[in-house]
Amino acid sequence: MPAVPTMSDNNETKLRNATIAVLVDNEPGILARVVGLFSGRGYNIESLTVAPVDEERAISRITIVTSGTEMVIEQIKAQLDRLVPVRKVCDLSIEGPHLARELMLIKVVCTGEQRAEALRLADAFRARVIDATTASFVFEMTGNGDKLEAFTALMRPLGLAEVVRTGVIGIARGTYSLKA
């Protein structure tokens, strides 16, 4: 990767997805700062997750999934990087292979044969039953977005009642670690 990205290779109109990991000081207003940056400058947020990852040093990790042209994504990273409480910005989607996972809880309300079918599919998708009544299941499932969407689609005719997803979290493969 070049030290500074140059933009001469005209990819001004091609959109791409980016999964950006951001290490920030866990202080009041930091999420508003990040979200305000995206809304104020008209960038997309497809998903955003945040949680503290280092209690002692008060550091949180934000994972943002966004899309835009190469120029816009470079802008997003540069804009994030210049926020004072931001310690590190990493574009997981271009800086090497990475893993992305999402957690979903999904409630299906059904009886009879549909119930058995829901359980069979859950088994095939490695979803866990974490709550059950005689008329419902709550499944817990992790995976990438495609897998979660496929499972949701299968549950729709079987009595899909409610879905909640965390949004994507990501981490690089291999020995590389993101440190603040």
Binding site: M1, A3, V4, P5, T6, M7, S8, N10, E12, D25, P28, G29, A32, R33, G36, G40, R57, A58, M71, E74, Q75, K77, A78, Q79, D81, R82, L83, V84, P85, V86, R87, K88, V89, C90, E95, G96, A172, Y176, K179, A180
Partner: protein
């Protein structure tokens, strides 16, 4: 995995000061009130002047100010003016300006000034009062969500809820305001924190934990840039406000670099003064109301070196037609300014002065440029464009041309040989000032570039005069803009600030009128300045001298009288009502589609529908 492109400004290898280390450093000191902590930290940061307006939430700070002499407080008449005054102070000195306002309306009135400073990269620290912490969120009297409201208009902001962190926050605020791309920082101070007792700590010497902007440019990229410049046939240097922010030595280096290379140089509105206006290698300002030669040279160049400018839309015109044949080098301290509007070939992230120094060294160390003959041809072309004399105007008849008024103001101030600082409001007069007043040195030109804030000039001039008590400070104004912060005449009177307000009075919001003429069929909707005050009487009522000039033959004497008067003056100069500001790149047009005035060939072309959408 590679580090971030800005060369590891956030790399993990550097030592960071932990929060605990910060606290142990503080605990040794004795305790004092929050207000005293703030003032002591300001003093340690070198603050000598603070512009402000009191109110309930900041009474403890005003009480502490009363009991000391190190910091001088200047009482403005509106909080917006306090911020603009601090901008004028900061821009003319290179120091961080300081503002103090109360909670609620005090803070919201400051918002315009804060955004103005953000867009023009002016270092400020603004202290805002806040209701006591236990009332925050209760819709208390004069409560506003100040950090929420000011988040998008500041570089950074703080709400201090813990007095133990107060001193550290003030020090950090000054560091953030002046480092990297400078900007305004707000510190919101609840009243109980100002009253409570806490420890003082000195400014930390360790690097900041996360905000460490890169100052030195990457050496390999500097070499690549110089290689590109050496191979240029039609080069141009385009320098902006970043060179002002990098200090006077950066402007000196710019001059050295331009003279050594023999390249033509143009300035943005914010960059005026970084290269001497009288130098033959200077092409004047570029952009929407820039000179013919500067804009055509930008359009036709093959290598462009941008130092400390941000490819603003006033400069570029239509983006897809901007310098279409040029390889572009962009030096900027702000990584996020690079490839934002215009994709560039080489990005040099760093301080403008250090970058110029590196470029100059690399230029001297490498071989002779390849195309000396080509550069001479390029200059011939530029001279031909210059021959158009795009700023020519004819002063004839009994009405003063606004261009002539500025030109004579410039020439007569030159005769006085006094150090002269110019501020402006926003509109036609601002552009004429930029075109017809020559600036030889940086920090002498204060104008609202990015935000375009009418009402900026008078309070900014106040701030400049406070910083430079013996200098000649002139606010070049329009009759509409000046009324937006006219209350500051009282501040001039109180502190005996001999600011000269030079009003080009055409009885119109001139730039609005001009656009209505060119774009909206001459329907002058609400742009006439009806019911104007008598500016002479207005000046007198504010204990200043008032002058009025209406005829060309009175102009010089009027200017001389204004300059000779030892106190503040308003000079109301009646000028041609229908004069337009030319040259002009109409919105949505390219540099080579600029329109010239009636005194040059070529008429006013129509504006496209796409252009009408643009501001």
């Amino acid at each position: 995995m590679p580090v971030s492109p800005n060369g590891g400004a956030k790399s993990e290898s550097q030592n960071t000061m932990s929060a605990t280390a910060l606290q142990t450093a503080t605990s040794a000191a004795q305790t004092m009130s929050g207000a005293e902590i703030v003032l002591r930290a300001l003093k340690e940061q070198g603050v000598e002047v603070i512009f402000g307006y009191p109110g309930g939430a900041v009474l403890p700070l005003y009480d502490a100010l009363f009991q000391q002499n190190a910091i001088r407080h200047i009482l403005v008449r509106h909080e917006q003016a306090a911020v603009h005054a601090a901008e004028g102070y900061a821009r003319s000195t290179g120091r961080v300006g300081c503002v103090l306002v109360t909670s609620g309306p005090g803070a919201t009135n400051a918002v315009t000034g804060l955004l103005d400073a953000l867009m023009d990269s002016i270092p400020l620290v603004c202290l805002t009062g806040q209701v006591p912490t236990h009332l925050i969120g209760n819709d208390a009297f004069q409560e506003a969500d100040t950090t929420g409201i000011t988040r998008p208009v500041t570089k950074h902001n703080y709400l201090v809820k813990d007095i133990n962190k107060l001193a550290g926050v003030v020090h950090e605020a000054f560091y953030v305001a002046r480092s990297g791309r400078p900007g305004p920082v707000v510190i919101d101070l609840p009243k109980d924190v100002l009253i409570g007792q806490g420890p003082y700590s000195e400014a930390p010497t360790a690097p900041h934990r996360s905000y460490r902007p890169q100052r030195e440019p990457n050496a390999e990229l500097v070499a690549a840039a110089v290689k590109l410049l050496k191979g240029a046939k039609r080069p141009i240097v385009y320098a902006g406000g970043g060179v002002v922010n990098a200090g006077p030595e950066a402007s000196a280096l710019l001059g050295e670099f331009v003279r050594e290379t023999g390249f033509p140089c143009t300035n943005t509105l914010m960059g005026l003064g970084t290269y001497p206006a009288s130098d033959p290698q200077f092409l004047g300002m570029l952009g929407m109301h820039g000179t013919y030669e500067a804009n055509l040279a930008m359009h036709g160049c093959d290598v462009m070196l941008n130092i400390g400018a941000r490819f603003d839309d006033r400069v570029t015109g239509r983006l897809n037609a901007f310098a279409p044949t040029a390889k572009k080098i962009h030096a900027d301290i702000d990584q996020s300014s690079i490839n934002k509007n215009v994709p560039v070939d080489i990005a040099l992230v760093g301080d403008a002065g250090l970058t110029l120094k590196a470029l100059l060294a690399a230029w001297r160390a490498s071989e002779q440029p390849q195309h000396k003959g080509a550069l001479a041809e390029w200059w011939q072309q530029i001279e031909a464009w210059r021959g158009k004399d795009c700023l020519r105007y004819r002063q004839e008849g009994s009405i003063i041309k606004p261009q002539h008024a500025i030109r004579r103001l410039y020439e007569i101030t030159q005769e006085t040989r006094r150090d002269t600082f110019i501020t402006t409001e926003v509109g036609q007069h601002q552009m004429w000032a930029a075109q017809y007043f020559g600036f030889e040195k940086p920090n002498r030109w204060m104008t609202s570039g990015g935000l375009g804030t009418m009402g900026y000039g008078l309070p900014a001039a106040m701030g400049v005069q406070i910083a430079h008590p013996d200098a000649l400070v002139i606010d070049i104004a329009g009759e509409a803009s000046i009324l937006m912060n006219i209350q500051e005449m009282a501040t001039l009177a109180q502190y005996r600030l001999p600011v000269k307000v030079f009003i080009l009075n055409n009885e119109y919001m001139g730039m609005v009128r001009q656009w209505q003429e060119l774009l909206h069929g001459g329907r002058y909707s609400e742009s006439y300045s009806a019911a104007l005050p008598d500016f002479v009487k207005l000046a007198e009522s504010f204990h200043a001298r008032g002058l009025r000039v209406t005829r060309p033959e009175e102009l010089d004497d009027g200017i001389r009288e204004m300059l000779a008067h030892p106190g503040p003056v308003i000079m109301d100069c009646a000028v041609a009502k229908d004069e337009n500001c030319f040259p002009m790149i109409p919105s949505g047009a390219a540099h080579n589609e600029m329109i010239l005035g009636p005194d040059q060939e070529g008429g006013v072309k129509g504006v496209t529908d796409e252009g009408k959408v643009l501001v």
